[in-house]
Symmetry: C2
Subunit: 77 residues, 2 copies
């Protein structure tokens, strides 16, 4: 979904630093979690020039990165 | 937080299979996302015998696992 200025609409839900006591972080220290209305929205976001510019800058400061996109299936608690 | 039967209260929010087109999954294929009311709740969950039993069974079927716990800081969209 695009707004008037061509910026893909998405929500950066949350960010945080790993505090797990399980020692299974595999060297990853931070997490960023976003939600999109559709997989097409993710594709538009990835390809958007503003994202590409940011990603190139951001990734240059990271040792490694892992990206998982998924369509959430809610389970019972 | 514990219920009468000693089961730690938490919510398995969602699960899903990676569908990212960025090829940055680093070999990870699935995600499971849970929320807890406190870090103490996470610790109780990890130590609970039912979790230990499940984790040992579950992990034996996985090639690798990565666990990140974080206190979410919400950002503006």
């Amino acid at each position: 979904m695009e707004e008037a200025k061509g910026v893909v609409k998405h929500i950066l839900l949350a960010r945080g630093r790993d505090v797990s006591i399980e020692n299974l972080h595999q060297g990853f220290a931070h997490i960023f979690e976003s939600t999109f209305e559709s997989t097409e929205g993710v594709a538009e976001y990835i390809a958007h020039p503003a994202h590409v510019e940011f990603a190139n800058l951001f990734l240059s400061h990271l040792d490694k990165v892992l990206v998982i996109d998924y369509k959430p299936t809610t389970l019972r608690s």
